[in-house]
Subunit: 335 residues, 2 copies
Amino acid sequence: MAKKNRQFLLAERPVGLPDDSTYNFIETDLPKLKENEVLVQGEYLSVDPYMRRRMSEGQSYIEPFKLNEPLKGGTVGTVIESKHPSFQQGDTVTGLLDWADYTAVPGEQLRKIDRDQASITTALHVNGMPGLTAYFGLLDIGQPKEGETVVVSGAAGAVGMVVGQIAKIKGCRVVGIAGSEEKNAYLINELGFDAAINYKTTNNIGQELKEACPNGIDIYFDNVGGEISDAVFSLLNFHARVALCGQIAHYNDTKVEMGPRFLTTFLKRSLLLKGFIVTNYSDRHEEGTQQLAKWLSEGKIKYKENIVEGLENAPDAFLGLFRGDNLGKQLVKIR
Amino acid sequence: MAKKNRQFLLAERPVGLPDDSTYNFIETDLPKLKENEVLVQGEYLSVDPYMRRRMSEGQSYIEPFKLNEPLKGGTVGTVIESKHPSFQQGDTVTGLLDWADYTAVPGEQLRKIDRDQASITTALHVNGMPGLTAYFGLLDIGQPKEGETVVVSGAAGAVGMVVGQIAKIKGCRVVGIAGSEEKNAYLINELGFDAAINYKTTNNIGQELKEACPNGIDIYFDNVGGEISDAVFSLLNFHARVALCGQIAHYNDTKVEMGPRFLTTFLKRSLLLKGFIVTNYSDRHEEGTQQLAKWLSEGKIKYKENIVEGLENAPDAFLGLFRGDNLGKQLVKIR
């Protein structure tokens, strides 16, 4: 009996939060390989906030998903068949593959993973895109110095947890902002954050930040935006740096929100703000990957995963990112 | 008969625009010199938008003026008496002196000017703080490359005019934003700007900017803020740079204004924004001063001054900055 391939296609571009009408979940035959292509059976699929932006049209750093074509996401899987000289059946690989059981992809877009070095899922977080995002955003834009105070929003997400741990390695005071007591306890007790603020239950985030950051804030690694950032901005020290990594508070906005104009503060205090995406640092990925793998093997960086079973549950796992469900990296176990 | 000294003291901190109650215009005896001090008779006083911020309390890059003490501003004048070995009677000097006929000041805070090299008033703009502000903000933060598009707001002010001319020297397309047809004609016809937009008469600044910047905007040198910046931000290219030099639209705000949240744009396009003040570059002032003097002597940088007669008119000349009166550098001829 011929194998079948389940796939999620983008049925229509969502306005606001994605829902059932966003996706078309279909079953097709397995793709036929062209020269230099590799057929990969997915094991784990990563869902990440930035995917929401690819669901919409418009100018961004990454091209939008195409209508009636498969959604794509970071995946680890196993090579089933290869027409590329560098890959053979049984290899474990990672790449940007379809939200599907199987994907045919040019070999150049895959990277081999050593199953013995670390859990293969780390290729989707600490040893992958989220880890590199944390590494370059914090170190290149943030330029942390010993004794400085770093605040990270979305602290319990895949990027945020690595940001905080690298900042600790660099000798900084680290304050996380996340959305549950469970998350905050994890950040403090397991990852060594100095303090953590629950933005969902606080009555006065400005006051809590002030208490958590007695020397002000030198680096803000922002995954969130909105009112959380408003509160942080007012506490930035002279010459502080803002690494703008995400604005999850706004990805589902249907119009431009209004907020306080803060540029007078940025002027008065000679502040730096830089938006970035990990691909800006493509020429340094090797450096980042090696350093992160080293810290991981030394136990200096820990991680946590939240695994949903079954490809069919990918849309809900993705929505959970916006509800703030996930403590740690949200993954989907495809089979 | 003993000479008298007229001085403007800060009588109270203004809320919104300064008015008569802000100042106390008094007459005193001439100050007595201490060791290492120099008595300077002011010839020209510079009034600049940043002084508004010094009239208020609160954290900024420069300490507030003190109540019941003289306001201060960039001044050129003549040494009347000296107890400092580096200065003697008759020297022409510049420094941050009182809004007054005479100031006693430590010699270390003065710089000698060569009357033969250029008009002494240029020490208050092209060859002084505004010129250096333009130089470092554009070159260090903006990093202009040939063929890029530079937009400067407050283009007809002392800083803006130098920004545009340096950008032309660097081979950029330069678009100014200013508040009168007369200013814009000057920018285009005399200073070589490629286009200029009148923000006071336009019905659609976004559309005008789009037409003036067919390849988008690579560098925005912002002196103004507010809705002008909102329009510019939406046209910034990937990896564009914003040198945040002033926010004159907001200096008289009595509360934080609301505006569109724009950080998603900064994220999507990997934009850089940096607030700065010329003193951040103190260790490179010599480099900037020499280069600016060279360009001035070569005729590559031109200037225009707007001189008000009489120290007693300094408050009105200062207010004119916020009305947008001045084409070119606003100066007060003290005597």
